[in-house]
Symmetry: C2
DNA sequence: CGACTTTTTGACCTAATTCAACTAATGTGG
DNA sequence: CCACATTAGTTGAATTAGGTCAAAAAGTCG
């Protein structure tokens, strides 16, 4: 799965073989990180750029009263902090949610990309715009949808994103998060996440078990959630679930 | 107020006199736009870059069920869509909320900035990072805070942002939005916004009247809302309320 | 003034929270 | 491999924050 991020960039821009090889060669130091470890913490002065190779991580922030909001899931192929390096001080934290393999790149690599690889630079640009669009969609999600719709919408999004990096088998993909973490992303209590999941399961819309999400009928779930993938700006028809193997 | 945006950029980076003059000369066509007009609509292929000179505008999107979520307020000095031009298709809309004066710049101007004015380019970069951080804070706000805290937090943020462009008088500033629009930004019903405002007013924390927000004791409101302005990444101590005149 | 929009209030309802207990997993050291 | 500890998931009962519906009051504007 080391090349999930090449795959991801390719879903936004046409890359040359040279670009691809060059990207491949970028990956220097790789760390295995256990779950619930902060990669960067609020207040830190960011030094490295992190790229998730395997596992799930998340951006988050805590309120003064100790409540946590998760802002984004970072899945294989996602850069954690390309841009943030421009600011002196991290305004949020990033933590692993499952065991992760993380590549650490030096900021100079990124600068090299922007200066020497226009196609790649553009692809990175687009990535960050998509991240922002995704963030907007999450705000829409917690601001305007019911508990069940929120969860269903999140799962639809994740299915599309996981498929784009070749990590789905039909309607199913790995999802190693706890219901508590789901609650922190949807703005719901654990208890209510549990009850909502039960209802979704009983309606035959989604099942979450063995650290996997199983969607028997993706179209049906999309309809239920009011999911429109336009905001993910994937180009062309996404690869079909099975063709990714 | 034509130079609110110069002021804004200066709160992120040191600009030379030349930069300032050049920025001033940028403003070409200026439109007066009445309230509730879309500047760009979801699905459009963005052509112009809009800069708000006066008034309030907002990014927003509707759900399939006709609910609206507002993602950001655009106040004098804010660029609406510097970056979005990179994508083929708008994934959200931008509308005026009050009468606005809007400068329309050609995308080529932006390209010129990035190529010829490194200090400005950097300042624009930082602006968009701050926009993203603000969006995260809004998600935290609707996901984790109570109705009153949400509203109070939003007002604190707005106070800081308005002050940064010289549009406050002590704890007071123009705020020409309806309670319905406040509801669409905080994920609350109009009725509940109204009741929450009443409680905040009775607690002596904020008053909203005559299209203005009046905060008798800014520090007290910040404490109540759990507001920490770090995410706005303003450099140095902000100008004091009265020194802006 | 009269039409329309926005704000305010009341009464009632419901989605989601909280607290608490219990069960099912997962993990750890002997 | 088992006994015990710990974390995660499930369920029930009581409570509450916030939503809905409806109608009145207060502004706004041609």
């Amino acid at each position: 799965m080391e090349n999930a991020f090449i795959r991801k960039l390719e879903s936004f821009a046409q890359l040359s073989d040279e670009d691809r090889q060059w990207l491949q060669s970028l990956i220097g130091r790789v760390n295995d990180v256990s779950p619930d470890q902060d990669l960067i913490r609020e207040g830190d002065n960011p030094e490295n750029v992190h790229l998730i190779l395997e596992g799930f991580a998340a951006r988050y922030k805590m309120t003064a009263n100790g409540k946590r909001q998760i802002f984004a899931y970072l899945i294989p192929g996602d850069f954690c902090d390309v841009h943030v390096a421009l600011l002196r001080r991290m305004d949020h934290s990033i933590a692993t949610l499952s065991p992760c393999r993380v590549a650490m790149l030096s900021p100079s690599t990124i600068i090299e990309i922007t200066e020497r690889r226009p196609a790649l630079a553009r692809a990175l640009w687009v990535c960050s715009l998509v991240d922002e669009a995704t963030l907007r969609e999450w705000l829409l999600n917690v601001g305007q949808r019911s508990a069940r719709e929120r969860i269903a919408h999140l799962f639809c999004e994740l299915h599309v994103r996981m498929r784009a990096v070749g990590l789905t088998t039909d309607g199913s993909f790995e999802f190693p998060l706890t219901q508590e973490e789901l609650g922190d992303t949807t703005g719901l209590s654990v208890v209510h996440v549990n009850r909502s999941l039960k209802q979704l399961r009983e309606a035959g819309l989604v099942t979450m078990r063995n650290e996997r999400i199983i969607i028997p009928d993706v179209e049906r779930l999309k309809t239920f959630a009011g999911f429109d993938p336009a905001y993910l700006h994937l180009r062309g028809p996404a690869p079909t679930a099975t063709s990714t193997f």
